[in-house]
Symmetry: C2
């Protein structure tokens, strides 16, 4: 039995290069189904629902919705908003139900990472309790690749390709002089090291880091100084280090917080300088060598020009499949990828219980990390290399990116 | 009268995405001329000459020399080495003459920026004084675009394309939440603002910075805080700032040095944190808002995957032309570009007195900077936009860059 009503899509959490590709998949697929009456995009995710700020997607040019595939960040606007447990306050839930009823929203797709899946799950469960029929499917997205139950997450492959490419280019740059230099590159990933580990892909081309530090294993500053010293001794005063922003010591304390404990925060540096800067200072003090900290910063999550074609296609497909599944009657699920056995890379889409994905962080298996804790094994490379494949047909105008230009016409039902 | 002998090529100064394209041009052109007996590449520029470390380029695969066109940084190794005035010490000059004689070097090509052209000029003049016949041509290179007498420098167009593209992507990233955020991006360029100004190209696509600060005009911290405040007031708490690492105050003091004067250097931060971090601290203290400093760091000078096709071709041509000119009898010159009048972009190569290029820094004309000192006018955009054009045929392997692999066989004549 087909459910007739409006479809609502929202984006949530930090940007990726391909979150808009999923939006494109949802919108273009939704247009194919007669049971979907209206197609809305919520501005700033859950916030747009609470404030009734919906864009009317049917008013957009289809061509621009195609351009979304290669437009980074969240075209509708994103949000970090955590719903309170319903027993603490049900105000947001009541408001969401009210808005869903008013707009006759019967299909709801929420695109994001762990926290967003938690939001999606809570909305789904509340609407069930309220006997409001609505098909709800979560669409995964995160450069961190830490969602549970899926082989990988849309957004990861592109960020990984950016990291590996950039590391290769940096490798060539930092080896240009015959003078000593310690380079420390900081990569995103608070608790999972997937993206940092992607730097190891550069080693397949002979241009990778000497040392990689992941948040999955405790970080020891003395060992680190010693590791760097040993590499520099062998390599003419040079060492190339890549580490995760989220490395922690044995006591679980973030290394990036070491600066605060040294009372250097009055100028605002504790918040501003990252772990690469902290460790650069420590290396400089200890080894009296030239050190250059480099933070890949926001660039690694929005560099759509270096997206993996496979990631773009899969993100688009995740959006499409979410709509197809919902139309078929599925709800309360998240789209996930399963990698099929065999030499050639192949995946199929499947559905997970949203709850399963929402609250467990998937980390790199410890058995994939080398015994000396400064690199990853072949298992990781075999896992990650297929994810960065596929050329993209990146649209250019004046040799600069041609990103989507949405009209963003607000629906007026207030 | 053709001069018969060996050809020597050296790379000097900071990396660019296309300095190896010039090397490719020199090597592949040199192979076409019978008067050129051997083709040598000096390891680490002038240092390789003094130490007699020459690679035998004829032993390289031509295919790999082609790959050099898209390989960033200096494949032969670079150097920062300043020759002393001859009256202070002529030891290096004598040594260079000795080595040139030993290897019968009759063609010498040196690829670099201002300082490298100074070196090239000094070697040229000394060999003239010593009555040693050698054709010497400088080949320009710098992302700073500050060499005098040429319309632009190889290396600039690619770095400019990287900056403009990255700024567009960052624009999409930082506008994703509806919360306040001041973003400060730091771009290379110690005394000339050409590369920083390239961020304005992103504005042509509606995704550029709100405020641009160049080293050509004095920087006033109070005005800056006020500028940011005004933009943030108008734009929902957001301001997007791009500035040059080399901005200085009225007294000519680098803003990046403000940190030192605040006695915050014992942890090594003065050397490590750049001007974006300094100003982020000041904005944070004054406006109590979230600030994110982003240093484009080495990425902007080695991101070959985002090179401008035109820049790659022109850098290659500069190398080719240097050889052609030398074979024709020219010496003591630098290859330069002249932009031809007319609507369509066209350049021709010409030769300059090396001295002319060596010691004068070309800056952005003040008349191209807006009156409020926070942006550039149409004249700059008209100048710079053609330089970032041209798609590149960027070779990939496993969807990662396929950079040149040189054998680097050292010549054994010691």
């Amino acid at each position: 039995m087909k459910l007739k009503g409006a479809c609502l899509f929202g984006q949530s959490g930090g940007p990726t290069s391909v979150i808009n590709a999923s939006a494109s998949g949802v919108f273009l697929e939704a247009m194919k189904h007669d049971c979907i009456t209206e197609i809305y995009g919520a501005e700033h995710g859950i916030k747009g629902i609470l404030e009734e700020r919906f864009f009317d997607i049917r008013q957009e040019d289809v061509k621009e919705l195609e351009f979304l595939k290669n437009t980074p960040s969240s075209a509708l606007g994103s949000v970090r908003y955590k719903l309170k447990p319903v027993n603490v306050s049900d105000a947001d839930y009541r408001r969401i139900l009210e808005v869903f009823k008013k707009y006759n929203i019967r299909y709801f797709f929420y695109n994001g990472g762990n926290d967003s899946m938690d939001t999606c799950n809570k909305i789904s469960k509340y609407l069930q309790l309220a006997d409001y029929e609505c098909r709800i499917i979560g669409i995964p997205k995160t450069i961190d690749n830490d969602l549970n139950g899926t082989d990988h997450c849309p957004g990861y492959g592109s960020a990984a390709r950016y990291v590996a490419t950039t590391i290769m280019e940096l490798f060539h740059d930092i080896h240009v002089y015959d003078t000593g230099l310690i380079t420390i590159v900081e990569v995103m990933g608070r608790n999972a090291g997937w993206l940092t580990a992607a730097s190891a892909l550069a080693s397949l081309k002979g241009a990778g880091p000497d040392l990689i530090y992941l948040p999955e294993v405790p970080f020891d500053v003395d060992k680190f100084v010693n590791d760097v010293k040993n590499v520099a001794k062998k390599k003419n005063g040079k060492a190339f280090v890549v580490l995760s922003e989220g490395i922690k010591d044995m006591d679980g304390k973030y290394i990036s917080e070491y600066l605060v404990s040294l009372d250097r925060d009055s100028f605002g540096h504790a918040q501003l300088g990252g772990v690469a800067t902290v460790l650069a200072g420590i290396i400089s003090d200890n080894l009296k060598v030239k050190v250059r900290p480099i933070e890949l910063s926001l660039l690694q999550r929005c560099a759509a020009h270096l997206a993996s074609g496979r990631d773009v296609e899969e993100a688009f497909m995740a959006g499409q499949m979410a709509v197809k599944y919902a139309v078929e009657g599925e709800t309360d699920r998240m789209v996930a990828f399963e990698r099929l056995p065999g030499k050639e890379y192949k995946i199929k889409c499947k559905l997970l219980d949203i709850r399963q994905a929402a609250n467990i962080e998937k980390k790199i298996p410890i058995s994939w990390i080398t015994e000396d804790r400064t690199g990853v094994k072949k298992e990781f490379l075999d896992y990650a290399l297929p994810l960065i494949q596929g050329e993209i047909n990146f649209p250019l105008e004046d040799n600069l990116p041609r990103f989507a230009k949405l009209k963003k016409v607000l629906v007026n039902k207030k």
